[in-house]
Symmetry: C2
Subunit: 296 residues, 2 copies
C-alpha cells in the first residue's frame, strides 16, 4: 500500500468500514421500527481451510452488523439430496433473508443444481440465472458482491461515469460479466476483454476505467494505463516469498507502476477484498427489505 | 441491394431460406422417427396492423416448415388475467413447444408480467430473465431471435471469430445486450456502444465486426468502417418517399458508403430481417427437442 501516493489511493478497507457502519445503522432502524432482523445463513460442506476462514469472517461481520447469523456446517460426505433439502428449508425459513452456499462444494455435489435451488429473492451471491437475467435487463436483481463492491468504489471516486470508456479484463460469471453490466448501467462504453483479446495493451490504453479480474499476478502492466485513468484491481494472488519464506499478496495489476499513470487505484490487499463481504451484508439487508415489501 | 457488390453481400434472405429448409427437414425426421410435431402458439391482443402482418408471416412460415401453428387472437379489451390464464394453459399444453406473445400489448396489460409467465422452456423469444441469465452464464438458453440470426450470418461469413474486435451499437434487451453475449461466446473482444458513447466513429473504426442496432436511419457513416470489416445492419427504418409518395426502407448504416470499406455487409431489406422469423422457427424446434429430452 505504500507504493500508492495517498491522493491516488482508493481505500476499499476504509470504504467497507463506512459501509458496514451504515448497514448496522439501517439494521437498527429495521429492528426498532419494524421488529425485523435481517438473517443470513451460510452453508459450508466439508472442511476446506480457505473456506473456513471466509465463512468465519462472514458470520462474524454479519453478527457485528446486528443481523442474525446462522452457520450450517455439514460433513464432507453429505449427499446432494441432503444439501438440497437444507436449502429448501432455508428458502422457507422466515428468519432467513439471505442464503449463501460456500464454494467449492465436494465433487459429488452438482454446485449449479444447489445454487439454482436457492430462491432468487434470497440469493445474496447473485449467481442464480434469474438474478443474472434481471441485472442484464434492468430488473430488481441481487448483484454479485465483488462487482457490486467495485461499482460502489468507482461511483464514490468518479461520480457520473456517463460516456467513459471502461474495460473489464476477464469474463467470469462471478466478476467480469456482471461488472460489465454494472458499468453499462452507469452509461459507460464497455469493452469486455479476455485471454483471446489480441492487443490488450492498446485496449487498456484507451480506457478511462480499468477493472482487472483475471487471477494472474501483475498481468496488467503499469505502462498500459492511460494517464488519469481509474484502476480497480480485483486480483488477489499469493506469491511465494523470499528467503525468509513469507508469501505476499499481489493483484492482477503492477500497482506501483500503474499508480504513476492512474488518477486512482485500489491496493492489494485493502482494496476490493474488504468490499466483497460488506456487499454481502448489503445484499442481505436489501433482500430482507424486499421480502418484507419495504423500499430498497 | 444494388448498392452492394455481390462478393460483399451478406444475403440474409437466401440464408434464411436455406435455414428454413433445414428446419423443415429436421421437423420431418422428428415426425417420422419420434412421432413428434413441434408446435408454436402465437398470441396477439388487439388489432395493431404491423403486428398483424408479423403474426400472419410467422404463422405461415411455421406451417410451411411442417410445424403445428396455433394462432390465438384476443380482443383489445382482454384483461391481463385472461391473458395470463391463456399463457398458463399453453404452458401446460403438450402440443405446444413455443409460446410467443406479440408485442406491443394494450396499455392496461403489464407486458413484463405476461412474458415472465411463459415457462422458460417454451420462451422462444428468449426474453424471460432465466433465458437471459442462462445466455450470460453459458447455460442452455433460448436466445432472442434477431441477435441469433446476426450471429449465424457472422459465423457463416467469418468462421472462427476468436480475438476479433466486435462493436455492438445499441444496448437494447432484445438485440444489443444478447448480441454482445453471443459475440463474447465466439471469443470476440466485445465493446457495447450506445447513445452516451463519446467518440463513436473511433470506436467503430477499431472494429472487425460492427453490429448496428439503434433504430436511427443511416446513423453509422460509411467512412467510420474499417477496411475489411464485416457489418451487420439490424435497423429497419421507413423513410418518407419522394414526390411520388413511395416510402423506402433504410438501415442504421449508410450501406453504399460502408460497402466501399467493408468486406461484407447485410442489405436492408433482405439482410437481418428474414433471419428473425427463421430463428423463431429454429428456437421452436430447439425447444421441442429439449422438452422431449432429445439432443439439440
Amino acid at each position: 500500500m505504500t507504493t500508492i501516493p495517498p491522493e491516488k489511493l482508493i481505500d476499499g478497507k476504509a470504504f467497507a468500514e463506512g459501509l458496514r457502519k451504515q448497514i448496522a445503522a439501517e439494521v437498527q432502524v429495521l429492528r426498532d421500527q419494524h421488529g425485523i432482523q435481517p438473517g443470513l445463513a451460510v452453508v459450508m460442506v466439508g472442511e476446506d481451510p480457505a473456506s473456513d476462514v471466509y465463512v468465519r469472517s462472514k458470520c462474524k461481520q454479519t453478527g457485528e452488523c446486528g443481523m442474525l447469523s446462522v452457520e450450517r456446517r455439514l460433513p464432507a460426505d453429505t449427499s446432494e439430496n441432503e444439501l438440497l433439502l437444507l436449502v429448501e428449508a432455508l428458502n422457507k425459513d422466515p428468519a432467513i433473508h439471505g442464503i449463501l452456499v460456500q464454494l467449492p462444494l465436494p465433487r459429488h455435489i452438482n454446485a449449479d443444481r444447489v445454487l439454482n435451488t436457492i430462491v432468487p429473492e434470497k440469493d445474496v451471491d447473485g449467481f442464480h440465472p434469474v438474478n443474472v437475467g434481471l441485472l442484464s435487463t434492468g430488473g430488481q436483481a441481487l448483484v454479485p458482491c465483488t462487482p457490486l463492491g467495485c461499482s460502489l468504489l468507482l461511483k464514490d471516486r468518479l461520480g457520473d461515469m456517463s460516456g467513459m470508456n471502461a474495460v473489464v479484463i476477464g469474463r467470469s460469471n462471478i466478476v467480469g460479466k456482471p461488472m460489465a453490466q454494472l458499468l453499462l448501467k452507469e452509461n459507460c462504453t464497455v469493452t469486455l476483454a479476455h485471454s483471446r483479446t489480441r492487443d490488450l495493451p492498446a485496449v487498456v490504453k484507451a480506457a478511462d476505467i480499468v477493472v482487472a479480474a483475471v487471477g494472474i499476478p501483475e498481468m496488467v502492466k503499469g505502462e498500459w494505463i492511460k494517464d488519469g485513468a481509474t484502476v480497480i484491481d480485483v486480483g488477489i494472488n499469493r506469491l511465494p516469498g523470499s528467503a525468509e519464506g513469507k508469501s505476499r499478496l499481489v493483484g492482477d495489476v503492477e500497482t506501483a507502476e500503474a499508480a504513476k499513470h492512474a488518477a486512482g487505484i485500489t491496493p492489494v490487499p485493502g482494496g476490493v477484498g474488504p468490499m466483497t463481504i460488506a456487499c454481502l451484508l448489503r445484499n442481505t439487508l436489501t433482500a430482507c427489505k424486499r421480502l418484507h415489501g419495504l423500499e430498497d
